[in-house]
Subunit: 347 residues, 2 copies
DNA sequence: CTGAAAGCGCTAACAC
DNA sequence: GTGTTAGCGCTTTCAG
């Protein structure tokens, strides 16, 4: 700010002390007499002194702040995670800098180097779907920057991670459809390279296997842009409709896909669950108000943010980035709505 | 970062020049020979030099960054605004620091002083509903920090502002209900002290007046917590139900109120629009998928963010914070759904 | 055209 | 206990 704040120099000057004495008194150093401390602290309070964080950062090469890289802020899941992160960061006196990659690798590279340059003490990241080369994370991590990945983690970087029980969640969602007598279940996910995609696919397969339903690769669909473009989802839907063995149910791997797909169905005049039963991941808090109410897998987003931030701060404060990476894995919740209503077999 | 980056000193050393020459060469100063510039620039590129923004900030007392204070990130409207802000900030080479007040005055004070201390060059803000004393904004603004308010602006601070045409929007929403033969229209808003509340109320009144419908103050309800607590909305709904002249339609002043109210209705077994017709502000992008599809007033959130950021950057770069405050006012859009379907008068 | 030196606000040896 | 000094990385007078 061009705004002139009070500095240590001001205090030193006013009290006839040296800058270092003031500095030490402010940080309650053992070498300063109680009297002087009282004096300095008292005066500092009256003139409303706050240390200049920029100067501190420059000196200390750290900033008591953590950086966050998410694909997109305007997303129910990520914004809830951010709230979780902020809640522990605030408790622990850390500042949070939020950046979004907008799902591009370039954005992600810019973000992480921006943050590193800004002396964040550590980073929380969920990778963009476009990213295949993770060296921007690797390099910084190797140089000692603590990084905790969440949700969309990168397995090749040996670091802490917080995820949801993806396999189990997808398994439960798919099994729920199977129990409700759906048999031809299509799987729609975003970019196939994402950790969450492969894990959720695994859970889907597991359920099929367990229920003795043969795997049909025609049922597997990817939207590399995660359903951000309407056309992308629409073309998947149309291709499903044109298949000889048209699916009777759909498993959707992410938030945006779930709602985009529902919109497509509506536009094409399809009925849910009559034409397709739907189960999808979603962290929107209004899936119960939709038409029909959606059966969703909800991630404990806020808690994930909290855990990730706690892991990160622990890593920062113990400086042991190298070894014993912790992986926390939280359960998702299956919330049953009308979009997956049991099918009557009588027909 | 503990991460050691290359500095001007490294370049100077490697090239046998002085730090100042390198610094000047990098900023393309006229006093440096072309040859030296080539040399420095070339070398800087090979070692991948980036100026340390912290050092620059300390020196320059500005940071090529702008701060954002919103009540809450996990909100469709605000997250869209943030995207708009980022889009112009990135274009213009500014970094965005996002903070949330979580609707508390204390959080807001912390945020804005945090940002000022971090040498942001200017701020974008939408005030918390709890805030009544705006001196934290006033003080910084007087000291020369450019501030642009958006959506929830504060009129007593003489500064730039971007809003939606609140009066007109609320008027259109209410008029739409009146046209559809609803006559007893309740108004539900959040904190009555907010700019958006008073303006939207004004529009509501205007419509009533124009359609010759008498104003009934029993129809006016405030949720000081903006519908973040379910009980708050439920108690409003129950009080409406208990009234002698029960309303036949509801105008909802914000996003969260709109969806919370719908949820309450559902829980109490009420039918929309039969029991109540609904029109509300909302920037959720799935109001068309709800049951029933909602008639909403949608704000051009992304564009508001863009405009606000452009105003701010202009203010920063021209340093004229004092005079000629610009107020931009964008139209909202009425999107008609089933929640306000015309009532048959036959009954 | 280039260099030396001071200083942004703060901390931390190293004196006394 | 307290002061002096140097330095984090950078810009910017002021000298040459």
């Amino acid at each position: 700010m061009r705004i002139e704040a009070t500095t240590i120099k001001d205090i030193a000057h006013a009290l006839g002390l040296s800058k270092s004495t003031v500095s030490r008194a402010l940080r309650d150093s053992y070498e300063i007499s109680d009297m002087t401390k009282q004096l300095v602290l008292g005066y500092a309070k009256t003139i409303n002194y706050t240390p200049n964080p920029i100067a501190v950062s420059l000196k200390a090469r750290k900033s008591k702040s953590i950086g966050v890289v998410v694909p997109e802020i305007a997303d129910s899941f990520f914004s809830q995670v951010i709230n979780g992160i902020e809640s522990v960061a605030n408790e622990k006196g850390y500042t949070v800098m939020i950046t979004q990659s907008l799902e591009t690798e370039e954005g992600e590279i810019n973000n992480i180097s921006f943050l590193a340059l800004r002396s964040v003490d550590g980073c929380l990241a969920s990778v963009s779907e476009e990213t295949n080369d993770f060296s921007h994370f690797c390099d910084l991590h190797k140089k000692g920057l603590p990084i905790v990945f969440f949700d969309r983690i990168v397995e090749c970087v040996q670091s802490h991670a917080v995820t949801v029980e993806n396999v189990q969640a997808a398994y439960e969602g798919t099994a729920h459809l199977l129990k409700n007598n759906y048999r031809k279940i299509a799987f729609i996910a975003n970019a196939p390279n994402l950790y969450i995609t492969t894990k959720r696919f695994e859970g889907y397969l597991k359920a099929l296997r367990e229920y003795g339903v043969p795997y049909d690769e025609n049922m597997i669909n990817y939207c590399p842009h995660g359903g951000r473009y309407y056309e992308e989802v629409e073309s998947v839907l149309k291709s499903l409709l044109s298949k000889q063995h048209r699916p009777d149910a759909i498993f959707l791997s992410t938030d945006k896909l779930t709602t985009s797909f529902l919109r497509c169905c509506k536009n094409l005049g399809l009925k849910i669950p009559e034409d397709f039963a739907l189960v999808g991941f979603s962290n929107l808090d209004i899936t119960d108000l939709m038409q029909p109410s959606l059966t969703v897998l909800r991630q404990p987003a806020f808690e994930m943010g909290r855990r990730a931030a706690m892991l990160l701060i622990k890593a920062i404060e113990t400086k042991r980035t190298d070894i014993d990476c912790e992986n926390e894995c939280l359960p998702a919740q299956l919330i049953i709505g009308d979009s997956s209503k049991a099918r009557c077999l009588a027909s």
